[in-house]
Amino acid sequence: MWSRIASRLLTSLVVAWASVTAAFLALHALPGRIEDILAGDVDYPGLREAIAAEWGLDRSLFEQYAAFVSRIAGGDLGTSYVLRQPVTEIVGSQLWPTVQLALAAGVLAVALAVSVALLTAGRGRRARKLASILELVLASTPVFWIGILLLMLFSFTLRWFPVSGANGWTSLVLPSIALALPTAGLLAQVLREAIEKTLDQPFVTTIRARGVGEFAIRARHVLRHALLPAVTLGGWLIGGLLGGAVITEKVFGRPGLGSVTLGAVLTHDVPVVLAVVLLAAFIHVAASTILDILYLLIDPRLRAA
């Protein structure tokens, strides 16, 4: 148990370090010089050298990397090249709208998928087929396209919801639907298949023979079994929601990590990009740890090992 947790933590450190290193190398491999970005529109002889000396850009790549890693290890994410603000402040201020969107979309996706799967699994062939096709279409449609369609219909034509911004819950409705639909489509397919597989198990006959109704069988017994494969998908889903959130924010003109990240990448704002990468790695590690614990909660057979 404890050795499992220790190895888990060690793995997360390795993941964090690897992602920071990869992002650092990728950014330095991009064309263009960081001094140019920092200089902005100003230009006079000796400026670039001065900037390079001030930011430590004149040192070798390895020295920059070592300095960077040791600073991060000390908890300092650095200062943005472009915005000249501490990175922690920039990311911190933009974190909440993104989390809000991802959470809303996640809850919506799970609710949609569970209800559709519960209602259609093992019932009439036609309803199943229809739901299955719809899910496939949704799962393979890009988020931005769904977003644009929703905007055209509900914001421009019907004017039910605002076109952009992040003011109140009305501005959250369309983005979270756009983000939730592909996820819900995939999740519903996995859940339905798992529910149908579980319904074929002998213990379901035993439960029926106790006089338990069809809905109670599904809600009380079968759903829990079906959650296991869905949890396996969970890590991927959380990644998908965060990645999708970035695109969705752009489409709906919402503030959030998405626009910050995009801006930072375009302007070679290394500290900001790396902070986002670190955050993503942290979320990944935290999510997979939580999912591992979820497994143990759902399936007592795994607790023994």
């Binding site: 148990m1 198990q201 002998p202 213990f203 006959t205 035993t206 439960i207 029926r208 023979a209 106790r210 006089g211 338990v212 109704g213 109670a216 017994h221 829990r224 079994h225 759902i298 399936d299 007592p300 057979r301 023994a304 090992a305």
Partner: protein
């Protein structure tokens, strides 16, 4: 909620729980739409056990499930009369049926590991019927009743057990918990569908005793089984089913002890036992093309003196993983086991699950290295060497598994499965050899082009035997090769193995939980218990005058067609 229990019936006779005439069950979706179960009459009184026996596909489970209206999606159940506890069930809607399930009829299925929800505790599973039908309200009242019922089926420490999960219980306790879940709602009728299949004989005897106890207390029991010996010990009346029809029925003593119907006789003749040694089990059953020509068994070549396999003092421990609050320890699977198999000899291994049989087989097959001791095959070292050194001898040692289908590559055709063991033969000669081998195991040569999925269970086991023979082995390890087969098919496969031993002189190491199979086929028997070889000797001696206490327990627990309930004081 449920109608008055005043039921029609004779004076002084216990009430009739089930009264069905002319039952037919069909599926609209299946091919011709012809009924699968046809014209069955079934009557069960309180305090009576009625058994449905027959081979798989005979419709016995379907008949039993129809009493719960759980025959399956799209099942069409028709009858002239269908009374459950005096009420006509033919007009029942789903809600009516649901009210009956668990309170009037309780179902016990095979293998509690998959028949209880593995994610819920025993207490939750047993208590569900109580809360579902609002028999009791409140957690404490339900928990108290659950403990009560668990105690009734002979589960010790019900308090602790009710908080455990099915996988944490032993096979016997688990099966009793399944019975407890079925009887918690105090149903008048228990439907037990192969309740002891896949259990060890000793555990089987205990489970049967629990069921017999319910009958004595006044419950009706409908027992579905393929095992005539089990049925003969507990049932008052027997219905023999074949291809959806009742071919024979009556009091157990008449049907099974003095069998008149040819099919019943055939079923009884097919049971392997000490008495069936040296004779064919499937004499009356036509077997493929080469069947009638082999009426008399060929003269047997006696076992030689040359040892094919020598096992000396082998032992195996498995380390267990450390958990919370306990250090890692070792689980002893096998302790100091020595035996030999001579050429042409059939050596049986018996023992319950966990006795070390399978570990021993794995070591003999060279799939597992023993911690101590040594194995020699055909006089050469077999354990303690690397796999490449073992490879030249591999063809001489073959294996017949319990589940033939999963041992085949699903993309291979029968011819490819067998030819895989014909590496020494020129490709041009292989089809001829495959055909000869198929004939040898009683299969038509045109099956060579089939995929194993398109074969019946008996045919698959024959293919797996042909595959083993293709390598011209000196020894075949057979791991429960007939335990998944119906009695008729089992008889044919056992006959085939006996013939091959007689004709080819191949030695067999035969693992089985069924003492009857060992008594029928084996020359010598090894009795395993808790990883030790507790007794060894000629079958006649060991199983007639057992020396070890465990062997005696095993024999006492074995259900026999003639006797009453085994290991049970009347």
């Amino acid at each position: 909620m449920i109608a008055d229990t005043k039921t029609p019936g004779g004076h002084g006779e216990p009430p009739l729980l089930v009264d069905i005439r002319g039952l037919s069950i069909g599926f609209a979706a299946s091919g011709s739409g012809a009924p699968i179960v046809r014209d069955i009459d079934l009557a069960i009184r309180a305090g009576e056990c009625v058994a449905l026996v027959g081979e798989s596909g005979s419709g016995k489970s379907l008949t039993a499930r129809s009493l719960l209206n759980l025959a399956g999606d799209g099942a069409r159940v028709e009858s002239r009369r269908f009374h459950l506890r005096g009420r006509d069930a033919r007009g029942f809607r789903e809600a009516d049926w649901r009210r009956l399930r668990g309170t009037v009829t309780g179902l016990v299925m095979q293998d509690a590991l998959v028949s209880l929800d593995p994610l819920r505790t025993i207490g939750q599973e047993v208590g569900e019927v109580l809360s579902e039908h609002r028999i009791l309200r409140g957690r404490t009242a339900i928990a108290a009743r659950v403990r009560d019922v668990l105690g009734k089926v002979g589960i010790p420490d019900p308090e602790v057990r009710s908080r455990q999960y099915a996988h944490q219980l032993s096979g016997g306790l688990r099966q009793r918990a399944l019975i407890a879940a079925a009887i918690a709602g105090d149903p008048d009728l228990i439907i037990a569908d192969e309740p002891t299949t896949s259990l060890d004989v000793a555990v089987q005897a205990q489970v049967l005793q629990v069921l017999a106890e319910r009958v004595r207390e006044g419950a009706g029991l409908l027992l579905i089984s393929h095992d005539l010996a089990v049925v003969s010990g507990i049932a008052d009346r027997v219905i023999v089913m074949r291809e959806g029809r009742a071919v024979d029925s009556g009091p157990t003593a008449d049907v099974l002890m003095r069998p008149r119907h040819p099919y019943t006789r055939q079923l009884i003749a097919a049971i392997p036992s000490a008495a069936s040694r040296g004779r064919r089990l499937a004499s009356a059953t036509p077997v493929g093309p080469s069947g009638p020509a082999r009426a008399a068994p060929p003269p047997r070549r006696g076992p030689g003196d040359v040892p094919v396999l020598e096992v000396r003092g082998i032992a195996k421990d498995y380390p267990t993983r450390p958990g919370i609050g306990r250090a890692g320890s070792t689980l002893t699977a096998l302790t100091d086991v020595s035996f030999a198999v001579r050429a042409g000899e059939v050596v049986g291994i018996v023992g319950e699950s966990g006795s070390g049989k399978s570990t021993c087989a794995k070591i003999v097959l060279g799939l597992l290295a023993p911690d101590r001791g040594a194995v020699r095959l055909l006089g050469q070292p077999w354990s303690g060497i690397r796999e490449p050194e073992r490879r030249p001898l591999r063809p001489r040692l073959q294996y017949i598994p319990q589940d033939a289908l999963s041992s085949f590559d699903p993309r291979y055709r029968v011819s490819e499965i067998i030819a895989a063991n014909l590496a020494g033969l020129r490709p041009a000669d292989r089809p001829g050899r495959v055909a000869a081998l198929l004939e040898q195991v009683g299969l038509r040569a045109d099956l060579a082009g089939r995929h194993p999925r398109a074969l019946s269970g008996g045919q698959r086991q024959r293919v797996s035997i042909a595959r083993a023979l293709a390598a011209e082995p000196a020894l075949i390890v057979c791991d429960e090769p007939v335990s998944a087969l119906d009695i008729g098919i089992q008889a044919q496969v056992l006959d085939l193995l006996g013939d091959l031993r007689d004709r080819l002189g191949t030695a067999l190491l035969f693992i089985s939980h069924d003492l009857g199979v060992i008594q029928h086929l084996a020359d010598r028997v090894l009795v395993f218990h808790d990883g030790r070889l507790v007794e060894e000797g000629p079958v006649g001696e060991v199983l007639c005058t057992p020396g070890h206490a465990y062997t005696r327990t095993l024999l006492a627990a074995q259900p026999r067609l003639a006797g009453g309930l085994p290991a049970h004081a009347h």
